[in-house]
């Protein structure tokens, strides 16, 4: 597997990152090195091995359905955005 210029552009798109022309070539080299390093895992026999996504195997951690106070208030949260109006965050037209 080797990473092409097109791969870099595709991954940048998937990652919602706009790259300038001068960023592409170094990223291609770095990503290529890193992905090639991964190929050593081919040496491992993982046939019939279950994957581990979460070390502690916890499932369905329940809590009572009651409102909990997480301290934050509306004003403080809205103050974090660039522009807001009538308690809503303002963004450019979507459609």
């Amino acid at each position: 597997m080797s990473i092409s210029r097109e791969d870099v552009l595709h991954l940048a798109e998937l990652s919602d990152i706009s790259l300038s022309e001068d960023q592409i070539e170094p990223l291609k080299k770095d990503l290529d090195n890193i992905v090639n390093y991964f190929s050593q895992l081919d040496e491992l026999d993982t046939e019939n091995v279950e994957p581990t996504y979460q070390c502690f195997d916890m499932q369905n951690v329940w809590r009572e359905d009651v409102i909990q106070d997480f301290e934050a208030n509306r004003e403080d949260l809205l103050a974090l955005t660039v522009e807001s109006k009538d308690n809503q965050i303002k963004v450019p037209k979507v459609l």
């Binding site: 998937l14 990652s15 790259l19 895992l41 491992l44």
Partner: protein
Amino acid sequence: MKIADKETKAVDLVRRALERAKASDDYHVFISLNEANALERAKNIDAKIERGEKVGKLAGVPFALKDNYLSPEGNTTAAAKMLEDFQAPVTATAVAKLEAEGAIMIGRTNLDAYAHGGSTENSYFGPTSNAFDKTRVAGGSSGGSAVAVALDIVPFALGSDTGGSIRQPASYNGVVGVKPTYGAVSRYGVVAMASSTDTMGCFAKNAEDANLVMSIIAGQDVKDSTTLKDYWTRDLEDARPKRKTIGLIKDTLGKGIDPEVSKVVRDYADKLKKSGYEVKEIEMPILKYALAIYYIVVPAEVASNLNRYDGIRYGHRSSEANDLDEIYQKTRNEGFMPENKRRIMIGNFVLSSGFYDAYYLKAQKARTLLIQAYNKAFEEFDALLCPVAPRPAFKIGENTDDPLQMYMEDILTVPPSLAGLPAMSIPAGKSKTGLPINIQLVGPRQSDQMLLNIAAELENR
């Protein structure tokens, strides 16, 4: 560590810490100081003591906070342009617990942006210097916190460890670093990196102090459903190892490891033997694959966690953007450091259709094999002994052009992270040139205090 009482004023403890922080300015330990709030808190504690009221277990003790923990006191930047002006509306559980016991945050420490890195050179605000050699790296990603303790600015500091970010800088600066069992400490209010391996821990000068801090911040939290039921106690004495058997991991002492590092580990093994431990060599060939597993699994989680930085609700927003897509794309290019972008893109690569099975799924299966190898080892041994890092602190700038080489520095710290195991970084020696070298003790889940007990027993021998 000194706790405030009738004789020792909290204000004096905090002032001293702030003075030392300012005097160490050239190390670039802190992103911001919390002077006014800290002094105010100290005065309140002194007034309480004066009135004879009850104060907490860490009354007036100053501490440094890795700048990825949320607190409304100052900005929480994660050392990234993205969050340069971010004032957190909530307090991380670990910070709230410390403050409830009277500890006082005097400043926020430098890190690799979003905790991505092993040297603190990936900080938007520039690198932190090593406490023993200013031309060398502090380690990372919790570099600032490690140096804050090493320079005696504060008796303890908080850090986060996803793949070595507490243990490795602790080793580079010769202080105790605690990476607890996954789920021991709430992750609530800490900037997320990789949700299946993120752990919150601390730096301190000795095992006893570290245990005190951990006993306070650990515990179940409704705000983090992956937290474990409370098990951490105040008393280290109760946590004696049962069999006194230690496995010395042979695979971690050979090729690619500085002979001076191997020697420190072997010397520690000898000290253990003299203290009545049985030390036997063990082979764990799976460990050499851990780095590849880690750099697949973690970037995948990073890519997901960092999707939230879109320039809309909080954080940096590009001023060059004309429409919504451009807001996302330009904001993220401007707000993230190059290493953040590499990890996000690798993460999206291993998760993308066509590559998911070959990389992400393969890595998660290999992770199972790694966990099985640890489980087997713990049938025989109380704990495993190995180095923390392949070599002592390297020169600033030495690895910055080669990300893969930088990842190699994590080769010994990532295995316990992938298995959710506790791992302690314990000062054990120095190189001929005077650079600190720690050893690493790894134990089964929830054996954190047993590991600290072993470290405490050997501290003065």
